[in-house]
């Protein structure tokens, strides 16, 4: 079954958790919650704008986590935090991971902590019961890829393209080869992210990997003022495309269920 992980900037609007629930209703397998950072180095204009909007609203890590705690009873799918190193290390990764876990978050993606810098954070995450999901890029060499596959938890995030986040006209040509290479070195699901903009592109990515992360395409709609209902429809479109792929290629590859990201 192809996984669909839509992304949502924490605190982007006052009612932001309604989008989270809408994603869930539309069939998301997990949701990535962006903890906005002032200097999001790997993000293109849309996510930058989404982060800025949230920060200008005055949200903090605390306020976002509190919002999540408030809707906790309604959330049945895993939540994954996505943020940058400085927020993680501010009070130490141990404290940070415990705070995430306390709010019901079970995964963490930190794009500016490559595997070489991940040691202490890995330990902290493990201790707190958080999966530290590592990223691989098209330029990652085989030995590094193997190490990333080995050390990642939950899934491996395949960065589809040599670029920042942001919508694109087509799935990057680098996406499928990277997913293929990753699948050779890891048993973990391989989710493809960065620039997947349409259900068609999601389907194409899902054919190469085990699922997708959708971010800028959704955040653009939120920034434009689309409602949670609108986003539900949007995510449902991606869901349908992935389900279609599942039908095409019944059980392309068996892999162990890990950490419950696909309930």
């Amino acid at each position: 079954m192809k996984q669909l992980n839509p992304y949502l900037t924490g605190g982007i609007t006052p009612d932001w958790t309604d989008y989270l629930l809408a994603y869930q209703e539309a069939g998301a397998d997990a949701v990535e919650i962006g903890l906005p950072f002032s200097d999001p180095m790997m993000d293109g204009a849309t996510i930058q704008q989404a982060s800025d909007q949230a920060l200008r609203r005055g949200v903090t890590i605390d306020s976002i986590l509190a919002d999540l705690v408030a809707v906790r009873a309604h959330v049945r799918i895993p939540l994954i935090a996505m943020t940058y190193a400085n927020l993680v290390f501010r009070d130490g990764p141990e404290t940070f991971c415990r705070r995430l876990a306390g709010a019901g978050i079970s995964g963490l993606i930190v794009p500016d902590v490559p595997v070489d810098e991940a040691g202490r954070l890995e330990a902290a995450a493990t201790a707190a019961g958080i999966d530290l999901i590592l990223l691989a890029a098209p330029v990652t060499a085989p030995d590094r890829l193997a190490e990333i596959g080995r050390r990642s938890r939950g899934f491996v995030y395949a960065v589809s393209v040599m670029d920042t986040t942001g919508e694109r006209d087509a799935l990057a040509a680098t996406a499928a080869p990277l997913a293929r290479r990753l699948r050779e070195v890891t048993e973990l699901p391989v989710l493809i992210g960065f620039g997947i903009s349409t259900p068609g592109q999601a389907a194409a990515a899902a054919r190469a990997g085990d699922g997708v992360v959708i971010a800028s395409a959704l955040m653009r709609r939120v920034l434009e003022g689309a409602s949670p209902d609108d986003l539900r429809a949007e995510v449902a479109g991606f869901r349908a495309a992935l389900d279609q792929v599942d039908q095409e290629m019944p059980v392309a590859r068996a892999h162990p269920e890990v950490s419950g990201y696909r309930r």
Binding site: F37, M42, Y84, V88, F89, D112, E117, A137, V139, T164
Partner: protein, 381 residues
């Protein structure tokens, strides 16, 4: 000031906090640097460029009038006389040579005051490369002369409209652009920040300031002082004196004093002292000097400061403006607003226990002030 650890650390600072997409490029640069630095042919090329092209060694000027006024012996290391008007050319010539060795055809750079951008545009012209320079909109407005210079040199200057529209955001944009162009492009980083090996590489390329100054001073000065934005001119200067008992003083802008007012954090690929809030959101710096208007500081400075080998001070905008005028009228030298921070500290400290009467002070004048005339227009008379 030796090499960092293999992981690029100076004590607890430094490292390589970059997206996986950039890790191979950083590693390749590190390898190229290690190889080049061990290659006499590289040093010969670099030395030739420095001498024949950039006008090195730069002069060491005794500031006779100010010295007499202040009761200290003040010696100015004249990076303002280097080609393009600041120490930034030292770094860029070395990086361009490395980029050439690595087969790159393009330089990407961030710039604040525009001096690093001009130096990069200059090296790109000389080496037949393309240059793309990211510059905050606010800095474009206040350093217009340097924007013209970059464009005349054939560089593309891309205005950055996000965040504080200054150096911090220009650096974000440059790194983003590098991700998308990492095959052809070398990221020509302008100071001793960024992911390993930049802080080390840039310091080694700026070491020439300190080594020349050491050779030019008859005896080791009591105090060695330089302004600190990212900290490259200071690092290069300190490198010549770290093994002496000279006191090393870095002067930060009061509104961008990462060492003085910051706390440990990770931005722009490295761990160092950062101006940030309780969550880790990076604060906007605020300085009249675009080149110091930055909330971070190079990791080696954080290390030198933490271990006490170097000390860091701050001066405010008003002191800086007064220092530009005082130096101009005393010595006939119009320095950059950035460099004037070091001067301002000497003016304030001379005769106090921080800089006792009779001290000998080596001060690196990192650049010239032509670019700042608009900002200074209000100060005249």
């Amino acid at each position: 000031m030796g090499s960092p650890t293999e992981a690029g650390r100076f004590g607890e600072f430094g490292g390589r906090y970059v997206p996986e997409s950039l890790v191979p490029a950083c590693a390749a640069l590190e390898a190229a640097f290690r190889q080049a630095w061990a290659d006499p042919a590289f040093h010969q090329q670099l030395s030739r460029l420095r001498t024949e092209y950039a006008g090195r060694p730069t002069a060491l000027t005794p500031a006779l009038n100010l010295s007499a006024d202040l009761g200290v012996t003040l010696l100015l290391k004249r990076e303002d006389l280097a080609h393009t008007g600041s120490h930034k050319i030292n770094n860029v010539l070395g990086q361009a040579l490395l980029a050439q060795r690595m087969g790159k055809t393009r330089l990407i750079a961030e710039t604040g005051a525009g001096q690093h951008g001009v130096a990069t545009a200059t090296a790109a012209a000389l080496f037949g490369m393309r240059a793309t320079v990211y510059m905050g909109e606010r800095d474009i407005e206040r350093q217009r002369l340097n924007v013209f210079r970059m464009e005349l040199l054939g560089a593309e200057v891309i205005p950055v409209t996000s965040g504080s529209r200054t150096l911090k955001d220009a650096t974000n944009e440059a790194m983003r652009a590098w991700v998308a162009a990492v095959d052809d492009a070398h990221f020509c980083l302008g100071s001793v920040g960024g992911p390993h090996p930049y802080p080390w590489l840039v310091r080694e390329l700026q070491r020439v300031i300190g080594e020349e100054a050491r050779a030019q001073t008859p005896t080791v000065p009591d105090v060695v002082v330089a302004c600190v934005g990212g900290g490259s001119n200071a690092a290069g200067t300190f490198a010549g004196f770290v093994d002496t008992d000279a006191r090393l003083i870095g002067v930060e802008a009061a509104g961008g004093a990462a060492m003085t007012n910051g706390s440990p954090g990770v931005v722009h690929g490295y761990r160092s002292m950062v101006l940030q809030d309780a969550d880790g959101q990076v604060l906007e710096a605020e300085s009249i000097a675009a080149g110091l208007d930055y909330p971070g500081i190079g990791p080696e400075h954080a290390h030198l400061g933490t271990t006490g080998r170097a000390e860091y001070r701050t001066v405010d905008d008003a002191e800086v403006l007064a220092a530009v005028v005082r130096l101009a009228r005393s010595e006939g030298i119009i320095c950059a607003l950035e460099s004037a921070h070091a001067v301002a500290w000497v003016l304030r400290a001379a005769g106090t226990p921080d800089l006792p009467t009779g001290s000998t002070v080596l001060l690196t004048l990192s650049g010239r002030g032509d670019k700042d005339m608009a900002a200074l227009a209000g100060e005249i008379r």
